[in-house]
């Protein structure tokens, strides 16, 4: 019972994190493409800014993945 609860918790943790960051990164990249389509000469600058924002958005779900992997593989039993 305990074990399966940990598995479920890990799965939910990863999944919910992925939903949020998926929406976020989708919007972000879409806006980036729009910006580049409008002003192609700004592309290198926008790319740097995109990477910064991506890393910011990415942090929380990747932490969730780390914690859930830890729960699933190291905490069980």
């Amino acid at each position: 019972m305990e074990q399966s609860l940990i598995f479920m918790a890990g799965g939910i943790l990863m999944g919910l994190g992925a939903i949020g960051s998926g929406v976020g990164i989708g919007i972000l990249s879409g806006k980036y493409l729009e910006g580049v389509a409008r002003q192609p000469e700004l592309q290198p600058m926008l790319m740097t800014q995109l990477f910064i924002a991506l890393a910011l958005v990415d942090a929380v779900p990747i932490i969730a993945v780390g914690i859930s992997l830890y729960m699933i593989f190291a905490l069980q039993g």
């Binding site: 910064i52 890393a55 910011l56 990415d58 990747i62 932490i63 830890y70 593989f73 190291a74």
Partner: protein, 277 residues
């Protein structure tokens, strides 16, 4: 695989445990032999492997840059000089973009140190997960974690260092009165909303160093965790999975070092902004 007798769970826990030197419950000092002993040590423990690798890589960084600076030429530069110049110019470009040209002697060296140091510490993540811990195991050391940035003590320590600088510059540039005023008047400038504003701003202030340090830690920890999981698979799957993940990880370690540096610059810039919004 580390040992023949380890289960996968023990293997993972072994690889995620720091070598701690601290005070045992009975009052003697020494190295912890198990994860349980580390828990019993509580506050009086120091992660020797984190300290060792971070200080060693700090000296590697200093050594590289000193050698490059001593042998710098105006003629055709060598590889090392090129690399160091690239790092310095990259940092300079980012600072002038974000921070502007305010007089500040500390932000340049600080950002360069953070960038290169965090990068070097992250780079240890690409060393195969069993090489150094196994060598340490043969030498009689029970635990040895190679990547310092997978220890929250290291990343949060750096983040708190930056936070102290932020507070220092807030007090120095804005003065205590203006800093306190900024804390209570910021989102809604109405007197009856001051307590509400204060709560929001304090949460904002505390969340900054926390997310700053945890972001680096979380990314590297998750990466290391996946490397360890791959190391548990049978031998024919190792190359197939480890290689793409390592190549992807090259991106992550550079990006995280860069983000850690740029956030430092952004936070320090915020501390320097004196104009009201």
């Amino acid at each position: 695989m580390a040992g023949d007798t380890l289960t996968s769970q023990e293997y993972i826990q072994h690889h995620l445990t720091n070598l701690a030197y601290g005070k045992h419950p009975d009052g003697t000092w020494g190295f912890a032999k198990s994860a349980q002993e580390i828990g019993e040590m509580g506050f009086w423990a120091i992660h020797v492997d984190t300290m060792f690798w971070s200080i060693l890589l700090g000296f590697v960084f200093l050594g590289l840059f000193i050698v490059a600076a001593r042998s710098a030429t105006t003629g055709v530069p060598g590889t090392l000089q090129n690399l160091c110049e690239m790092a310095v110019e990259f940092v300079e470009e980012n600072i002038t973009q974000v921070f502007g040209s305010r007089p500040n002697a500390i932000i340049g060296p600080l950002s360069l140190t953070i960038l290169v140091w965090v990068f070097l510490m992250n780079l240890m993540d690409l060393v195969p997960v069993d090489f150094i811990p196994q060598a340490a195991h043969l030498a009689g050391v029970p635990y040895f974690k190679v990547v310092s940035t997978t220890d929250p003590n290291a990343t949060l320590g750096m983040a708190i260092g930056v936070f102290i600088l932020v507070l220092y510059y807030n007090f120095k540039i804005k003065g205590p009165v203006k800093f306190a005023k900024g804390l209570v008047t910021h989102p809604v400038p109405k007197w009856f909303m001051y307590p509400f504003n204060f709560v929001l701003e304090i949460v904002d202030l505390i969340a900054k160093p926390l997310s700053h340090g945890l972001r680096l830690f979380g990314n590297l920890y998750a990466g290391e965790m996946i490397f360890i999981l791959i190391a548990l698979l049978p031998f024919y799957a190792q190359w197939l999975l480890s290689l793409p993940w390592a190549i992807f990880h090259i991106l992550i370690i550079c990006l995280q070092a860069f983000v850690f540096m740029i956030l430092t610059i952004v936070y320090l810039t915020q501390a320097h902004e004196t104009d009201e919004h």
